[in-house]
């Protein structure tokens, strides 16, 4: 990344831009600018979790030029777009020569700044599943030393309830603390079918710290990272619990 032998500017390729609804997926072209995703009504409507994280990415001047594909390809462990992709089980469409392939987010992010993108391939789009809008709750929080710094810990949740506030579908993930976005499937399993209230949330999150893989680093020890991620998870679920009107 620091010293490429050849640098190709793909930012003006029209086919790689744009936000469209395709069946039950929201398709975002790889070269779509982050500021466009932030301001998009389609994204706000069909993928509110992504809309929620956008203002947390860097600063407005960096979002003016940064792209969705760029964030995915860089795969910074603290990045917000990969976290949402991981939580929602998005697909990343790539192009290799004239062949298109789709890679599941879980198979795409391999480690810090490492993806399964083959040499010579190019990301063409991010495909996010569209959940039913009714009774949909989304939440995101991150902590960093200053606003817009790289996240030290982050948590993202998307949840769907029936009309009796019983959880029908839930996706939970933490970011920044490990090598790549982590789904917390154990908590998801224990919450599905439960009534969405603080008591059930607290019970489900009991012992969640041991489910979270964390690396320590200069700004946060392993223990701190784990505790921060767990705490953010609780706060995000509490946020949604408060806001969801069912």
């Amino acid at each position: 990344m620091a010293r490429p032998s050849v640098l190709i500017d793909i930012s003006e390729i029209e086919e790689l831009k744009g936000i469209t609804e395709v069946g039950d997926q929201l398709r975002i072209g790889a070269v779509t600018k982050q500021i466009e995703v932030e301001q998009s009504r389609l994204v706000a409507e069909h993928c509110p979790l992504l809309a929620k994280v956008m203002p947390w990415i860097g600063h407005r001047p960096t979002r003016a030029r940064g792209t969705i594909g760029g964030s995915l390809a860089t795969a910074d462990p603290a990045a917000e777009i990969p976290l949402v992709s991981g939580v929602l089980e998005a697909e990343i469409e790539i192009c290799m020569g004239s062949e298109f392939q789709r890679i599941r987010a879980a198979d795409f992010f391999l480690g810090p700044l490492q993806t399964s993108l083959p040499e010579g391939a190019c990301i063409t789009a991010l495909l996010l599943p569209i959940w039913k809008t009714e009774n949909l709750g989304t939440g995101f929080r991150e902590v960093s030393i200053r606003q817009s710094d790289f996240a030290i810990a982050s948590a993202a949740v998307q949840i769907h309830c029936d009309n009796h506030r019983r959880i029908t579908k839930i996706a939970i993930g933490v970011g920044a603390v490990g090598d790549y976005p982590q789904r917390i499937t154990s908590v998801e399993k224990s919450l599905v079918g439960q009534i969405f209230n603080l008591a059930n949330i607290t019970e489900a999150l009991n012992g969640v710290e041991s489910e979270i893989e964390a690396n320590g680093h200069m700004h946060a020890s392993e223990g701190f990272s784990r505790r921060a991620a767990a705490r953010l998870l609780y706060q995000v679920l509490e946020d949604i619990c408060r806001e969801l009107i069912v």
């Binding site: 500017d9 860097g58 407005r60 001047p61 960096t62 606003q147 817009s148």
Partner: protein, 177 residues
């Protein structure tokens, strides 16, 4: 080392500029070294400090993270086009003067351009919105409060001048336009 200069045509401060550049030349280096627009400042050269901020098609952007060849066909504005003439200050510059929004001045061109981009899209920002807008610009001298107050004053003046215009239009034919 073989070089492959590319010709570019860019609108800089309202004038069309055509030059031959190395593709690896950043927009920052081009504006400073080739066009001598030294009001664009080089701080960190990796997108963190914001001193290199210019407006590209009206948006505040890091010129250190943009290659000159990527500016082809775009409108670039630097601090050099902020003042209406040699003997005048723009209302934003005036507000910075009034509220002591600068000390050494290194971050100031970027702060003023960022303020202009903010006021162009949000003419009455609250304090939180101003803080958020300049959060990508580091200042080592002022502690930021005077910068925020300068932008608040500029917004106030903008609101007054817009109100004055509407009132004048109202009184001229008795109808709100």
């Amino acid at each position: 080392m073989t070089t492959y200069p590319k010709s570019v045509s860019i609108d800089v401060n309202g004038r069309k500029v055509s030059r031959s550049v190395e593709p690896r030349t950043s927009l920052l280096d081009f504006l400073r070294d080739e066009l001598h627009l030294t009001g664009v400042h080089c701080g960190c050269e990796h997108g963190v400090c914001g001193a290199c901020t210019v407006l590209v098609n009206g948006d505040a952007v890091r010129s250190c993270l943009m290659l000159t060849v990527q500016a082809e066909g775009k409108q670039i504005e630097t601090i050099e086009c902020e003042a209406p003439s040699h003997s005048e200050l723009s209302f934003i510059q005036d507000a910075f003067w009034e509220k002591h929004g600068l000390q050494c001045g290194f971050c100031t061109p970027a702060m003023i351009l960022t303020a202009r981009a903010l006021l162009n899209r949000n003419s009455s920002p609250n304090r939180a919105e101003i803080r958020e807008a300049i959060s990508g610009n580091l200042c080592r001298c002022t502690g930021y409060l005077q910068i925020i107050e300068s932008i608040e004053l500029a917004a106030e003046w903008l609101a007054q001048s817009n109100r004055g215009r509407v009132e004048a239009e109202e009184s001229s034919d008795g109808e709100v336009l």
